[in-house]
Symmetry: C2
Subunit: 378 residues, 2 copies
């Protein structure tokens, strides 16, 4: 239960065991085109989805490389470790970064973005984070869209895509970046960039954004007929992605979001009823990762270590400045009711072993009540 | 029998069907460290091997990004489609490229490199190709090393690594770039850069080479204790790489090279005895890809199409200016005696169907004679 790489459904594991398919055959092209059509539906866009053989950070870096030129002033608004990565990426690409860093655990403050842009109206691109994997905070993209005015808005949805609703066209988000290994239930190794027409036009006008991560080169290959990826695609990962997207469509995207909504509420309710304090304010949309504070007097590594050693449940600790101070449950992707119940129950037993005051079953019951409410349609 | 992505041994397929392993566990770190140690032995280097979630072109692009700065004059010496990719990569990274393009099908001319560097002594980095996948030509790296003098020499060995002997430390090649999907019998999605100390030092001195493909960031993660990759690694592909490298070590690297030497000779002998003309001069080290000219009066696509439709054998056509003019057999990676015999036999039948004068069995017998000689140790 770490926030990525997440577990694979058996169908996706099996798709990884297919013999290699030559990338230029009709057989592979059919798989590719099917996966691309499904991917656009997950991004909820009529725009283009560019696929890179890369981690999610590679897709993020491509946005900085293709949407701005060295020396250009850009805005990064962040609230955690991965939001801060936008600032590092932009700086390493030579951009002049105005970095607004909000409190970790809280969502990004749209008001701060509005104020910053009022003071620096020349900024053309704004980088934000939808789901901040290091804390669990999910920011309000429609509010950030409004705050960014007519600037190009780029959102990192590496952990949130396919977990939390993100209708990018309807909300007018210009660019959404993601990866294969979290909500999409596929092994790591594929990075995605969904971009609308004006983001594509800006990138094309600026010229090559490097070579490997250049959007125009990737577009040219993907948009050829038949599609011919610019570079050898990771054919086995694409087959696995197709299998995962099939599962998501079979479940239905609204049902996928609703399942995560219930899992998030179950996890938060269970953790609180086990006597722990959540990081940051309650947010009914923050259903990707649940973070709680390590209680005073408990070693930061003890809870994840005991969860793993006693129950075989892998959870994550904090990152960056929250290292040792929080623990994180990931519940994005291939997770269901049983995962939360067993994890909350194990957490109670671990807290007991650590000498914390805990009423066994209280957390489990709180999680069950959430499920009961959900089943009644409450 | 295309030159990549190449077939996977069953052990490598099976390794792709393992459930996901969280990248930060001891279990994965042990797999990673084992694969890295084996990879250094395949590169025959005491230097560092950096691993990127990327295609081979991503690893190539990283060399241009980390070894030179925009505006800098560099030399690219090429003899085919992928050698020309070095020039495109360097140009898209803003480098000032002196491009020596030799005849396709021939190896790179070391004399031309010597002359060019004598005329432009300020050049610090030279990019060349070991195995030119688009033609099958294998260039003489020791001769190119001598020609490049004290410049940093970067060699693309995407299709040649683990196929043709390349003792990079002994030969003094500063940087060797490769990928997972050819000689290493692993699915596409991993790019490798092996670099010696002076190449690493040059890169470090120049500062970040972008973000995602920055060598220092990747080094810092890989060299941490325990190693902690800069970005989520493609865990399933790393497991498959480990399985493939185990197989290569079990066979023994010298035996792997010898097997490819015999397969290359078999294929060339078979093709010639079937009445076809090889592209370029005979080279006993060119054992990665065998290219032959499409006979006059035959449609360039007919031979690959019939090979596939009649016998289920996928071979490749030409690329770039050789499109429609040559056909290519790839025999790099998981190939043996039976693959060459069946492919040459199928080629004879296809030529017969196309109305070419062909003596059935002549090509097969020629390939057999090579094997007989090899078995006698001739």
């Amino acid at each position: 239960m770490v926030p990525g790489p997440t577990p694979l459904p058996p169908e996706v594991v099996a798709a990884g065991a297919r013999p290699i398919i030559y990338a230029r055959t009709g057989e592979f092209v059919a798989i590719w085109e099917d996966a691309m059509a499904r991917l656009r539906r997950v991004f909820q866009t009529e725009g283009e989805v560019l696929v890179f053989a890369s981690s999610g950070s590679g897709a993020m870096a491509s946005a900085a490389a293709n949407l701005a030129r060295p020396g250009e002033r850009v805005l990064v608004a962040s609230c955690g470790h991965f939001g801060n990565r936008w600032a590092a990426i932009c700086r390493d690409h030579g951009l002049d970064v105005l970095h607004l860093e909000g409190e970790w655990g809280h969502p990004i403050d749209p008001g701060a973005v509005t104020d910053a842009l009022a003071a620096e109206p020349g900024i053309g691109v704004v980088f934000v984070t939808q789901s901040e994997t290091s804390t669990g905070a999910v920011s309000d993209l429609p509010a950030l869209r409004a705050a960014a005015g007519d600037r190009i808005l780029v959102a990192d949805a590496v952990s949130g895509l396919g977990v939390v609703d993100l209708p990018m066209d309807r909300w007018g988000i210009d660019v959404v970046v993601s990866g294969s290994q979290k909500g999409l239930m596929t092994p790591p190794g594929l990075g995605f960039v969904a971009a609308n027409a004006r983001a594509i036009a800006r990138s094309a006008e600026l010229g090559p954004g490097g070579f490997y991560l250049d959007w125009e080169r990737t577009r040219k290959g993907q948009n050829a007929s038949p599609p011919r990826t610019a570079f050898t695609p990771p054919v086995t990962l694409v087959c696995q992605l197709q299998a995962a997207l099939e599962l998501m469509e079979r479940e239905g995207l609204p049902n996928v979001f609703e399942r995560h909504r219930v899992l998030g509420r179950m996890c938060r309710a269970g953790v609180v009823a086990a006597g722990l304090e959540l990081l940051g304010p309650e947010n009914p949309e923050a259903n990707v990762v649940t973070s709680f504070l390590v209680p005073d007097g408990v070693d930061g590594k003890a809870i994840p270590t005991l969860m793993r050693d006693r129950f075989g449940i892998q959870i994550a600790g904090g990152q960056g400045r929250l290292s040792g101070k929080i623990c994180r449950f990931g519940h994005c992707g291939y997770y269901d009711y049983r995962d939360i119940i067993t994890a909350v129950g194990a957490l109670e037993l671990v807290l007991l072993e650590l000498g914390r005051p805990v009423e066994l079953g209280a957390g489990v019951a709180a999680a069950q009540r959430v499920m009961a409410d959900a089943q009644r349609g409450a």
